[in-house]
């Protein structure tokens, strides 16, 4: 290359490099968290936290949920803050253990689902070719298999269902949609120049996937994980309600099923069926709130609140 300008000038051209302005500099991880801290997120997080704490601590301080030595169907009282069931179990104790059970199922299913969808979605899309075609075909097939009926069929074949079986079955029927989302994202990421650049630098395939691609998928994956929990809790509740959940387990679904069998509604025993139902609704709503907040941060098109704020400010300044 012929050098056209002497060194000192090249240095000076440097000084003319446009400095990125401060607002740009302040973006980044800390800003990510600050933007995430919307009222929506805070409410959602607090509710989730309360439910999790209840699930963690509750079982330690309540009585045995299966003890049937209390008076049946008694309404809430000092001894039994949430009353008792028809066979005399303490509802609060049942609720505490059920919360733990439901959350365990939800988190484990969401984690397995995420793992499966990441494996089939990301690896297929990155490697491409036959691997991608195969993985895509598999996820498309899994996508059209109706989940719940399949679960019912599997569950009815197995004699005694462990919690683990329920978790595995729910994960196996639930990963396909997530895999398709991650595949689409990875397809766009794999041709980004920084991925090409890391290949040129000599990075190995697994490292390119884990270090270059995966971090950029984290927002999508965390959103998928959160929705996965809601989906799994609901699915498990559904299964338990129709009587094919895990044998001997205690979840919100089994509580509702018991309440149904014990004709709680007929006896007006609201303290029996309302709490598990409310907790399912609260968890679903809270996790959705968290998800909306994550969505708003990663998807600029959804950032509505800020614009409204600026508009108000604009009007004020125009009037003054």
């Amino acid at each position: 290359m012929a050098e056209l300008i002497t060194e000192s000038i090249a240095v000076r051209a440097d000084a003319a490099d446009e400095e990125p302005d401060d607002s740009q500099r302040r973006r980044g991880r800390s800003a990510f968290w600050r933007r995430l801290l919307t009222p929506k997120f805070v409410v959602g997080a607090v509710v989730v936290l309360l439910i999790v704490l209840f699930g963690l601590i509750g079982p330690l301080i309540t009585q045995d949920p299966n003890a049937i030595d209390n008076i049946g169907l008694s309404s809430p009282s000092g001894a039994h803050p949430l009353g008792t069931t028809s066979v005399g179990q303490d509802v609060l104790a049942q609720l505490a253990h059920s919360t733990r059970g439901s959350l365990t199922v939800g988190v484990l299913v969401a984690a397995f689902t995420l793992g499966l969808s990441a494996f089939f979605g990301i690896i297929g899309a990155y490697i491409g070719g036959i691997t991608d075609e195969g993985f895509s075909l598999l996820s498309n097939v899994m996508l059209v298999i109706p989940g719940l009926p399949l679960v019912i069929v599997i569950a009815s074949y197995v004699e005694s269902q462990s919690v683990l079986l329920v978790i595995v079955v729910l994960a196996l029927t639930g990963w396909a949609a997530g895999a398709r989302v991650l595949r689409a994202q990875t397809l766009s990421l794999r041709n980004r120049e920084y991925v090409l650049a890391s290949r040129v630098a000599g990075e190995r395939t697994w490292r390119v996937i884990c270090v270059e691609i995966l971090p950029n998928l984290l927002p999508v994956m965390s959103s998928g994980f959160v929705f996965g929990i809601v989906g799994a809790v609901l699915a498990e509740a559904g299964l338990s309600f129709i009587g094919i959940g895990a044998t001997g387990s205690l979840t919100w679904g089994t509580m509702l099923a018991d309440a149904q069998n014990g004709q709680a509604l007929l006896f007006g025993a609201w303290w029996w069926f309302a709490p598990p139902g409310l907790l399912i609704a609260a968890l679903g709503a809270a996790l959705s709130l968290i998800n909306f907040s994550i969505d708003e941060v990663i998807n600029p098109k959804l950032r509505t609140t800020n614009i409204a704020k600026v508009e108000r400010r604009t009007k004020r300044e125009h009037q003054s």
């Binding site: 056209l4 300008i5 002497t6 607002s23 614009i307 300044e317 125009h318």
Partner: protein, 308 residues
């Protein structure tokens, strides 16, 4: 703010007719002291106290680098700014053919819609994004007429649509095409045809050829200058490509950090630029045909010069 009067005196010589700083005889658009801020955690003064006068039928080039405020200024003229961008000061007056002066910033709703496209039309960089991908060129032109010229008959519209495409050098058969069926240059021509549809007095072109290859760019530029001769509209042409502006503009405004640092005729900018930043910009484009050594000479000069 046009050229700093002190600058030419500081240079010690009277430069021949700094036409750039003189207001045109028959003004079409007057911008006075316009300031535009982006409100946010930290307010950014995107355009700061800009004044300029655009003559009827004149091509003004607005040159500057990313973030200098050139597009913001153009959008402000058309009241196309959306929050958080806010006009904080100044005025824009459009001197209509009919002799009326229009206070652009005071326009609202119906009048604003009438002003846009009728008086001032815009051509953007990405024709693919500006053309609707799911309806034909004909339907889009029809939409323009239906909105702004409801009294036109169907036959008139068809005739006019064909005329417009012919005007920009596109076969009228293309009226039934969709955006994706057209090449990049053709799309940009269609965009220009649409901008011309209502016979505007001013066209604002925001980097209209930046995405195009240089051969196609040349064709489009020739088309724009020819149409200007023919139809007499004025143009505000925004780009970072200073050599291109030097070829097509009557006057050029160099923008930096929201201000016009220098405004003068194209010849003046090319041969006798006053502002150091203008000179720096000029030097950033090596000459295609000049001596290879020519460039080194310019470079050597740079050393003795104050570069902000």
């Amino acid at each position: 703010m046009s050229t700093n009067p002190e600058m030419s005196s500081a240079a010690g010589v009277a430069t021949p007719g700094r036409s750039g700083s003189v207001a045109p005889d028959s003004p079409l658009l007057s911008i006075s002291g316009l300031s535009i801020d982006y409100l946010g955690e930290r307010t950014v003064h995107a355009v700061a106290n800009v004044s300029l006068q655009l003559g009827r039928g004149e091509i003004i080039g607005l040159a500057g680098e990313s973030g200098c405020g050139k597009s913001t200024l153009a959008y402000g003229i058309n009241q196309l700014l959306v929050p958080p961008a806010v006009i904080t000061e100044g005025g824009v007056t459009f001197h209509d053919r009919s002799g009326d002066d229009i206070d652009v910033l005071a326009l609202e709703d119906k009048e604003l819609r009438r002003y846009r496209w009728n008086k001032v039309s815009m051509v953007f960089q990405g024709a693919m994004n500006s053309l609707n991908p799911v309806i034909s060129v004909r339907a889009q032109l029809n939409d323009v007429f239906a909105t702004h010229r409801p009294q036109m008959s169907k036959a008139e519209r068809r005739l006019r649509s064909g005329e417009l495409l012919e005007l920009v050098g596109v076969d009228p058969k293309r009226l039934d095409s969709y955006a994706h069926e057209l090449s990049g240059g053709m799309r940009q021509r269609v965009m220009i045809a649409m901008a011309l549809a209502l016979d505007p007095e001013l066209m604002i072109m925001d980097e209209p050829t930046t995405a195009l290859d240089v051969v196609v760019q040349r064709d489009i530029l020739l088309e724009i200058t020819r149409l200007r001769e023919e139809l007499g509209f004025a143009v505000i042409f925004i780009t970072h490509d200073l050599p291109l502006l030097l070829e097509i503009s009557d006057r050029i405004a160099i923008m930096r950090h929201g201000r016009i640092v220098e405004m003068a005729s194209a010849e003046e900018i090319f041969f006798a630029a006053q502002d150091p930043y203008t000179r720096q910009l000029l030097r950033s484009f090596p000459s295609l045909t000049g001596e290879r050594g020519d460039f080194i000479r310019h470079g050597a000069q740079l050393e003795n010069e104050e570069v902000r």
